[in-house]
């Protein structure tokens, strides 16, 4: 077929990282700060891709029209042997309680899974619930947790100032959820997480109630988000490590450029779709013109022109699809991911602040003890000494936490960057190949038309 999808298989991910055993804080003190809605184009009802089994290549394969997609899958199967697909959205229940259920299929040979192939039904809020749990467990120790898929998008209609909230259509949602899961299992620590395993394997899952926007937890989340924002402004960290400063700046720059690029690509998708519609419209008009033309050969040539333009309009449609599902979605994902990365840097700052606070507290306790020494109150003195010991412990713990999170972040960022390079390379090459295909088709169509035009006598 014209679509040459000889993409590079991803390199094998080392299954066992010698990272420290999960040192979890039992209490999750902070809720996850969900990403702020960013500017995204309203997704129109474009042709939806069939969600077929996707490999660890984090892009859902776009060319659902190509019959040999299954062959791609064979090629791309790699040693990190897990395949996840999210498909078959179907409506369950009716009325107020109706929801969309998705089929999540996991195929794997990894030993941590109990079966080779598992199929479960999940609803959208289950994904949000999973993310919520993972974020609360891992974010504050410096793991970059893939951001939750978004239910709807607050978009700015291109050309107009108003924003509107639109629900994504079920197939696009399925795509989004699939990519979310793939990114999650790509992280070795998250893959082993019992919540992830449960999500993928168990047939019943307790309803993730706390994701409901109006629930108590939802409101708590909003409050914490506001508090975070305030905290961020007041924490002024003495950055001793140039690496962190440099990295933060880089991610800041990357964020700006990716958002800009994303906006341009969305504009391109919009205009290509518009081009497709206008080409179709012109094709019809040309056909009509050909009909009324009374010179036979010219009439036929005009009809042929109409046919060519009709095929070209389909080509533009397909290209717009590729533009969107390959590039635009990749960029959207990375814009969200970078927000998660920045979140992790923030967590480190918070950890540092906590450490500082503990030190301040310790100092105060020591001062208090010194005062009590002079005041000669033995029972209070003992309490003071206990408190000092307590806070010494806390300071030590705080310093350990800070070191740990710094170490984790370095590793995570390294991994993130490696993945980023791979992702972009693979996707961009695939995208260029789609462009190649479009040009090849164009050549085919116009070569067929040329003799018709020349035949006008």
């Amino acid at each position: 077929e014209d679509i040459s999808s000889s993409s590079n298989g991803p390199k094998a991910e080392p299954m066992l990282l010698d990272h420290d055993p999960d040192d979890l804080f039992a209490e999750a003190t902070e809720e996850v700060s969900l990403d702020s809605p960013e500017r995204q184009m309203i997704l129109s009802d474009g042709p939806s891709p069939a969600i077929t089994p996707v490999t660890i290549n984090p892009r859902a394969d776009v060319f659902d029209r190509s019959p040999d997609q299954d062959e791609d899958e064979e090629e791309n199967r790699d040693t990190f042997d897990i395949q996840i697909s999210v498909s078959d959205p179907e409506k369950v229940g009716d009325g107020m309680n109706a929801y969309m259920a998705y089929k999540v299929t996991t195929k794997t040979s990894l030993s941590i899974f109990s079966r080779d192939e598992v199929c479960v039904k999940r609803r959208f809020s289950d994904f949000l619930g999973l993310h919520s749990k993972l974020a609360s467990k891992y974010m504050h120790i410096g793991y970059i947790v893939p951001p939750a898929p978004e239910k709807s998008i607050v978009g700015q209609r291109l050309g107009r100032r108003s924003s509107a909230v639109t629900e994504l259509d079920p197939d696009a949602k399925a795509c989004l959820c699939c990519r979310y899961l793939l990114r999650t299992v790509k992280q070795p620590a998250l893959l082993k997480d019992p919540d992830v395993l449960q999500f993928l394997e168990s047939s019943e899952l307790p309803r993730a109630v706390s994701t409901q926007a109006l629930s108590g937890a939802g409101i708590l989340r909003m409050v914490n988000k506001a508090a975070d924002a305030v905290n961020k402004m007041t924490i002024k960290m003495n950055e001793s490590d140039a690496w962190f400063e440099e990295k933060q700046q880089q991610f800041e720059n990357l964020d700006v450029q990716l958002r800009k690029l994303h906006a341009s690509v969305e504009s391109l998708v919009f205009h290509r779709k518009e081009l497709s519609v206008n080409t179709a419209s012109f094709a019809k008009s040309a056909a009509m013109l050909g009909n009324s033309e009374d010179h036979t050969a010219l009439s036929r040539a005009l009809s042929q022109l109409a046919e060519v333009e009709e095929k070209i309009d389909q080509l533009h449609q397909d290209q717009a699809c590729a533009d969107f599902y390959l590039i635009s979605e990749l960029l959207g994902d990375y814009v969200r991911l970078i927000t998660a990365v920045k979140g992790v840097f923030d967590q480190r700052m918070k950890t540092w602040a906590k450490c500082q606070d503990a030190q301040v507290m310790l100092q105060r306790k020591r001062e208090a003890e010194a005062k009590l020494q002079h005041a000669n109150k033995p029972d209070k003195l003992q309490q003071a000494k206990d408190e000092i010991r307590e806070w010494e412990g806390k300071v030590q713990q705080g310093e350990r936490d800070f070191e740990q999170i710094s170490k984790n972040i370095r590793r995570e960022v390294g991994r993130f960057e490696k993945d980023r390079v791979k992702d972009f390379r693979v996707v961009i090459i695939k995208y260029l190949e789609s462009l190649v295909h479009t040009q090849q088709q164009l050549i085919k169509y116009w070569e067929a038309f040329l003799p018709e035009a020349k035949a006008i006598a």
Binding site: H271, N278, L289, L442
Partner: protein
């Protein structure tokens, strides 16, 4: 005057070409524009018209404005002698509004973009201005060439004055009153047009032509509008690719990973493909959109001819009725006979030349469509192949790197 084919200015070859080579008799020197890129609203387009025959002493050139072309066209339309010919349609008014708007936006947005982006956009805008400019000039040229090619119109006195008179023709544009008169004339014409069109023609040829032209004109109008929209979308998409290329370049310069080279290469690719896409849109504009626009105007001129013939027919029939009445009453018979004869002659003269004109129109139309459709297909192929080569070579480099 002996007129002959003359070499074209560079770039004007790209212009619309609705006549065969032999018909070309007049050419343009490269015209000059007064206050092109100023933001003020007034922009005068002056064109240098010249004839370049074999013998140098018959060469002359004058400066003409758009209004003067319109004056010449209108003088043909109003001339009763030419009622039986398809009057070559007037060239469209030079329209730089869209570009002027863009220039304004560019000026306003100067603060928000980098220096490279601004320079790039300014250059593109200048290129766009130049392209529209060349097109406008070409349209005016086509008009004059059509006149020069016509066996009768080329002898017109006003045409000679237009070509030779060195001074300003002092042709003022129509004032408000005259424009209003024109408007009402057109309104009456269309009402009449319906009347006249309703009368079934005895002559099969003209009956067929009437039906054909009415439908054809409408469909060309539709196709012209749709092709414009299509091409506009194409241009917008090319603009988007331009922005994408710029951002990729910035990403390439900033990125700390191996991706930097990658981004730079892809940015370079998109820069080049974008230029090709813009070229595709421009060529479609020239070969397709302009072709349709031109034949929209020509088919209107042909319709006008049919209308004039229709009017003459009505006059002839009225004269016949008047004659019958006069004979019945035996009053003013001679006068009625003369009037009837005059009307008959007029009608027959128009019919005869109209038939030839309409046949020529078809021949011209078929030839023009053939030429432009072939060129369109060839250009589309050329650009697609160019694009493909760029993509292949870029992919080769990128894949080699991984």
């Amino acid at each position: 005057i002996f007129l002959c084919v003359s070499p074209q200015q560079e770039g004007l070859d790209d212009g619309p070409d609705f006549l065969s080579e032999e018909d070309r008799g007049v050419s343009f020197f490269f015209p000059f524009l007064i206050s092109v890129l100023s933001l003020s609203s007034y922009c005068v387009l002056c064109m240098c018209v010249s004839t370049l025959p074999n013998f140098k002493q018959n060469e002359f050139s004058v400066v003409r404005q758009h209004e003067e072309f319109i004056w010449l066209h209108d003088s043909f339309v109003e001339n009763e002698e030419y009622a039986g010919y398809i009057i070559p349609p007037a060239p469209p008014k030079p329209d730089f509004d869209a570009s002027r708007e863009k220039l304004q936006k560019l000026g306003e947005g100067e603060g928000s973009m980098t220096k490279e982006e601004f320079t790039k956009m300014k250059q593109e805008l200048e290129a766009e201005y130049l392209a529209i400019f060349k097109k406008t000039v070409a349209m005016h040229e086509v008009f004059l060439c059509r006149v020069a090619a016509h066996p009768v119109l080329r002898k017109d006195l006003n045409f000679h004055v237009f070509l030779e008179y060195n001074q300003d023709l002092s042709v003022r544009g129509k004032n408000k009153k005259e424009k209003l008169e024109d408007f009402f004339k057109n309104v009456v014409k269309s009402a009449d047009g319906v009347l006249v069109a309703g009368v079934k023609d005895v002559d099969d040829f003209f009956e067929h032509e009437k039906t054909f032209l009415l439908e054809y004109h409408n469909r060309v109008k539709d196709a012209s509008a749709k092709s414009d929209r299509m091409i506009r979308s194409h241009k917008s998409a090319a603009d988007d690719i331009n922005r994408i290329a710029s951002t990729l370049y910035t990403l390439g310069t900033q990125d700390s990973t191996d991706l930097c080279k990658f981004f730079l290469k892809v940015s370079e690719l998109f820069e080049k493909t974008r230029k090709i896409e813009a070229r595709v849109a421009a060529d479609e504009d020239l070969k397709l959109a302009d072709l349709l626009k031109y034949y929209l105007r020509e088919s209107q001129a042909a319709k006008d001819l049919l209308y004039r013939r229709g009017r003459a027919l009505v006059d002839y029939e009225n004269a016949n009725k008047a004659l019958d009445k006069a004979r019945a009453k035996n009053k003013d018979v001679l006068q009625a006979e003369t009037t009837q004869q005059v009307c008959c002659q007029k009608f027959e003269k128009i019919s005869e030349s109209a038939k030839q004109e309409l046949i020529d129109f078809k021949t011209r139309r078929v030839a023009a469509f053939r030429k432009n459709l072939v060129e369109l297909a060839e250009l589309e192929l050329k650009h697609a192949k160019g694009n493909l080569q760029l993509l292949h070579s870029c992919l080769g480099v990128l894949k080699g790197d991984t």
